[in-house]
Structures are given as structure tokens and as C-alpha cells.
Amino acid sequence: MKALSAKLWQAGRIVAASMLMMALACAGVAHAQDAQHPPIPDTLQQRIAACTACHGVHGEGTPESGFFPRLAGKPAGYLARQLKDFQDGLRKYGPMEYTVRYLSPEYMREIAEYFAAQDVPYSRSPMPRLSADALKRGETLVAHGDPSRQIPACSACHGSQLTGVQPDIPGLVGLPYDYISSQLGSWRTKTRATVAPDCMSEIANRLSESDISAVSAWLAGRELPADMHAQPAGSVTPPLHCGVLGDKGDGA
């Protein structure tokens, strides 16, 4: 009896295997009929050609011009939040608002995770000439802030190495001068905003224009740490209330 069932089992396996082979052969034929095109890969990378056309296949951005920001390696929560903010018109840039308008939260999350997982080398961007005093002021703001104007240190939120903190806080090193200074500017002109309380908007409005140049130049010129990955979640206590961090923080 045992022998019979073993034989049946074996016969079943042979039938199943040949059915599988036939199915594969049919799939091959169907594929050959599509010879007009190179096959279209069923990958997220292929699906998001609208993103990679400007930001690069691996989210490397355009560091030489600074126009299309790098996305590679930024924390996934941060990237997903930016997509949502463009969708809601809090962050304003027509082409981005148009592109993401009808994406679902799930799809935006998947796209954010794709770029967050990319590991590509950082490159240096052109820098303005700034006086040594200005760079010193930049370094002071980054490391200590300016308590007289209630400006916290950048490192208080963005991590001791300024490489960001998982999952919501982006790194500040390895970004071009033009990008950092224009983001700080756009928080002041309200073309970049996020859910309230918008702590970065508060900080950008406490900085003077020369402070923005100083801090952007010092950050853009800084030697990159060996490990550019964001610090683990929960490793900083933000000194301000921030909507993007679920309003965690001591306040100031």
C-alpha cells in the first residue's frame, strides 16, 4: 500500500513538472510575439521613470547644478513626508505637485523606501567664497546654535555627525550649498512648509540672511564622515515641537 502511494506521488510530481514546463514554454512564445519592444521589467525602478528622469536612477540627483536634489539614502519617513507635502501643496513646486498628485500613501511609501535604500557615493558641489569669519559663524550655528535668538544647534536634531536620524530627519552634510540655502529661504517665503508646528520654518525665520549663507556654506564644505548613514531612531531629543516628528520635543 505504501509502495503504491509512493508511486502515485512520484507520477503526480512528473505530471506537475511537465505542466510547469509547458506553461513556461507558452510564456516564452507569448514573449517572443512582443518582439517590437525590449521587455518592460516589472520593477519599481521601471515604474518610477517620472522620478528618475530628474533625480537619477539611484536618486543621485544633480550635484553639479544642485537643481534636482539627491534622494539616495535619505530616511524613508522623511522622503514619504515630502511627497505628501507636495501632494497637499504645503511644499510648492509645480512639476512635483503634478507628478505626485494622485499617488496613494502606500505607493508613495514604496517609492520613498526605494530611494532611502539606495547607497551611492556622495560628490562635492561648487561652493561660494566666504570669509573665514562667516564660516566660523556657520560652524558655531551648526554646533551650538544661537541661544540669544532661540536658534538651536543643527546637530541637536540632525545628529552628532549631521547625517540625519531615522526615520524622519534628513542629513545635512553632502548637500550642495545652493540646495541648503534655497531650502532655508523657501521656509521663509512659505514655498516649503509642513504639518504644524513647522519647527524648521520657525528656525529659518530666526536666522538672518547672512546666517543662512554661513550655515549653508559650512555644511556644504564639511568633510564627509566615513559613515553617511542616518543615526538610529530615538537617538536625539529635538529641542522644539515638530509636527513632522509627531510633535515630540521639549519645546523652546
Binding site: 512582443d34 517590437q36 519592444h37 525590449p38 518592460i40 519599481l44 521601471q46 515604474r47 518610477i48 521613470a49 517620472a50 522620478c51 528618475t52 528622469a53 530628474c54 501632494q87 497637499d88 501643496g89 504645503l90 509645480g94 512639476p95 505637485e97 503634478y98 507628478t99 498628485r101 494622485y102 499617488l103 496613494s104 502606500e106 505607493y107 514604496e110
Partner: protein, 427 residues
């Protein structure tokens, strides 16, 4: 001169309108005096039906601003006559419909008049909504009254004289507004009538898919013959599936697929239609989508369009376009322009490639973008934007090439057209 004349004519009509109708102002019907009792409005089945109807009527699309609370209004609708913000239709007593009775709501939807009898701007599509039945209107009102009230004051319209004189609308209404519920055609099937009701009435398809004249009116009600959407600068194609129609050759299934998933074997929804699919039509019950397809398939054939001979020598433009097409487009859309089934739309025979103006093709090349996310297509493929990569001359050449290759025979587009649409606002 033409403008002065127009203003004088409108002014006279407005005066006449005021003279004839200034007694039209009326008191709202209070909720206590309404013939519809509170229990009727609280009936869960009616509310559920109303939610479905409000969804397939796509009310939220206009009555929600970008990133704002649903139905709380605030989206500013651009028209050639000025910008008109959509009002808050949540049941907030001060800023929404909280104090409205069903009679007030019916008067707005059916007759295009506000609570106090004021004439509503026809950017609110009452020229279509007048066909909605009283039962359906009651269900939608019950649903809207069941929403959480949102306190969001309405913005004011920014209309210039003479368009800010509401009584001037008397003249407009006399020309273009035919009040009355949808009347079934007993010689047609129930499905056809349901489709006609949804397309002409609640779905207000004609608001985009029919031509408008200089006064923003539509001469032949219910033509669905295609038209440029004023101020938004997209072209809503003709919807006839028969000879020379914009959707010539589309099967019932093609229409169903596009409305349910955002893409079909014939084309993909983008621009304003992507929004309509994402927010509204993908949620339609199968019977309703099929009814719409049945009705659209009954639209008559269209007159053939005489082929325009360009005085320009198109050969160098087509050669430039062919080169760009091979480099940038053919990998996805195919050398034969037939696309990849279920992934990339065909350009050969595509209604949006061949529409009369070329606006859609130019703007899609410039903007790229995703097909709408729907339950049937949750992770759509996308097209790269070429605004940063192609010059105006390159865009004109490649669009002219795709409009005049394979079976396509649409007129050329020129650099000056591309310049205009490169700077068209995106919303």
C-alpha cells in the same frame, strides 16, 4: 471694441434681468418648515446611497482644496471670466450647509439658485445637475448633512465687471440653461437610460467634453463632441466611438477599463481625467460603468475633418521628430506606436494624440507623470517629464511626428504653441 460692445450688451441684459427678476430674491426654507423630516435625512441606507452618488458625481473634486478637508471647499476654479472658489458643503452652520433645508439644496442643484434666490455662477455645473432626480438629490443632501462639520469660511470670487453682476446671469441662463430632470427615452434600454442619466446629469461629462462659445455656454446640450477646457488648457476629447469619433474603435470593455482602472488598450487617463478616475469613476459599480459605455457607444458618427495641408515643408520637422522619437519614446511606446498592453498606452490612434489642438500631447511630453492610482492599478508605470530635456523646437517636432505617423493624421504643432503650454499653470 468687441469687448466694449460685449459689456454694453451684457449690461443691458443685466438691467433687463434685474427689471424682470428683481422680485426673485427669496427667503430660505428653514429646516423646521422643510417637507423633509429629520428622520428621512438620518436614514443610513439613504446616506450610503448619497455617498455613492456624491462620489460618482465627483463633488469632492471641486469642493475640496489641495490638502484640505474633504467637501470643505476652497478650491479656486479658474474661468475665463475670473476665479471662483468652490464653497464649503459640510454641515457647518456658519460657513457650510448647516442651516440648509433640502428645499434650499434642491434649488441650488436643480435651478442653479442660492438659498436666497441669488443666481449661481455656472462653474457650478447646474446645467448638468438639473437632470438629477429629486430622490438622488435627497440622498446626496442626506449624505452631506451627515458629514462632520468643518468651519472654513468661503473665499470671495474674483470676477471683474461685468461678470460680477450676478443678475447678468439671467441672460446667460436664457441662452444656455434648460431646467428639468432627466426624462428617460422609453425606446431605449434601461442600461442606456442609466448611462445617459449619469453622463448628461450627475457625471457632468459635458462640462469638459463639449465645446464652449465666447460666453462660456454650450450650444448643443449633450453633444460630448470634445472641447478645450477653458483656463485649464487641456483638451477633453470627443467621446463618440463611431466613425471619425474621438474614441472611434473603442469597445465597451475599453471604456470600462479606462473608467475603472485609469488605463485601457486604447489610452491612459492623465491631467484632469486622471483626477476624475482616481477620485470618482474607479468607485463606480460595474453596472453603472457598463451603462455609461452603452450610452457612449450609441453616440452618432462625426463628420470627417478635412485634412489640413500645411504650407510649411514638414519633411525636416518630421525627420527631427523621428530621431527624437527613436531615442526617447520608442522603448516604451514602440516603433509602431502601439505601446505595451497594460503598461504603456498606444500613440497610434490615441484620441489624446489626435485631438484637434495638440495641447494634450505637448503637455504630456513636457510634464510626463503617472497613470492614476486605482484599485485596479495600484502601482502605475509613469512617463518621464521632458520639459528639462527637450527644447521647444524638439517638443514641437516629436509631437508633430507622432501626430502624423502610423494611422495618425492630425495637424502639426509649432514652437510657439509649445512655448505657451510650457508656461501653463499646472493646476
Amino acid at each position: 471694441m468687441k469687448r466694449v460692445l460685449l459689456i454694453v450688451v451684457l449690461l443691458l441684459l443685466a438691467l433687463g434681468g434685474w427689471w424682470m427678476f428683481h422680485g426673485g430674491a427669496k427667503q430660505p426654507v428653514s429646516q423646521a418648515a422643510s417637507k423633509v423630516d429629520a428622520a428621512t435625512l438620518k436614514d443610513p441606507a439613504r446616506i450610503a446611497k448619497g455617498e455613492y452618488l456624491a462620489t460618482i458625481g465627483d463633488c469632492a473634486s471641486c469642493h475640496t482644496q489641495q490638502g484640505g478637508a474633504r467637501y470643505a471647499g476652497g478650491r479656486v476654479l479658474p474661468t475665463p471670466f475670473g476665479n471662483i472658489p468652490a464653497p464649503n458643503i459640510t454641515p457647518d452652520r456658519e460657513t457650510g450647509l448647516g442651516d440648509w433645508s433640502f428645499e434650499d439644496f434642491w434649488q441650488a442643484l436643480h435651478s442653479g439658485k442660492g438659498r436666497h434666490g441669488e443666481l449661481l455662477y455656472p462653474v457650478f455645473s447646474y446645467t448638468s445637475f438639473t437632470k438629477v432626480t429629486r430622490d438622488d438629490a435627497l440622498a446626496m443632501f442626506a449624505y452631506l448633512q451627515s458629514l462632520t462639520p468643518v468651519h472654513q469660511p468661503a473665499k470671495s470670487p474674483s470676477l471683474e465687471f461685468p461678470y460680477n453682476v450676478r443678475n447678468g446671469l439671467n441672460a446667460w441662463r436664457a441662452l444656455y440653461f434648460h431646467e428639468g430632470e432627466y426624462q428617460p427615452d422609453t425606446s431605449k434600454s434601461a442600461a442606456w437610460n442609466r448611462g445617459a442619466y449619469l453622463v448628461q446629469g450627475l457625471g457632468h461629462c459635458n462640462e469638459c467634453h463639449a465645446p464652449r462659445d465666447a460666453l462660456g455656454g454650450q450650444q448643443s446640450n449633450g453633444s460630448l463632441a470634445g472641447g478645450q477646457i477653458p483656463s485649464q488648457n487641456w483638451y477633453a476629447p470627443d467621446l463618440s466611438t463611431q466613425a471619425n469619433g474621438g474614441l472611434a474603435g473603442w469597445s465597451e470593455q475599453d471604456i470600462v477599463d479606462l473608467l475603472k482602472t485609469g488605463q485601457s488598450a486604447r489610452g491612459t487617463a492623465f491631467g484632469p481625467m486622471a483626477e476624475v478616475v482616481a477620485r470618482s469613476t474607479q468607485h463606480m459599480q460595474d453596472d453603472d460603468v457598463r451603462a455609461i459605455a452603452t450610452y457612449l457607444q450609441s453616440l452618432p458618427p462625426r463628420a470627417p475633418v478635412a485634412e489640413q495641408k500645411s504650407p510649411l515643408d514638414l519633411r525636416p520637422i518630421l525627420a527631427q521628430g523621428a530621431k527624437i522619437y527613436a531615442e526617447r519614446c520608442a522603448d516604451c511606446h514602440g516603433k509602431d506606436g502601439n505601446g505595451v498592453a497594460g503598461i504603456y498606452p498606444p500613440l497610434n490612434g490615441n484620441s489624446s494624440v489626435n485631438e484637434p489642438t495638440g495641447i494634450n500631447a505637448m503637455r504630456v511630453v513636457l510634464l510626463g507623470g503617472f497613470a492614476p492610482v486605482t484599485a485596479g492599478n495600484p502601482r502605475p508605470y509613469s512617463m518621464p517629464p521632458f520639459a528639462q530635456q527637450l527644447s521647444d523646437s524638439d517638443v514641437a517636432a516629436v509631437v508633430t511626428y507622432i501626430r502624423q505617423t502610423w494611422s495618425n493624421k492630425a495637424p502639426l504643432v509649432q514652437e510657439r504653441d509649445v512655448i505657451m503650454y510650457r508656461h501653463t499653470p499646472i493646476d
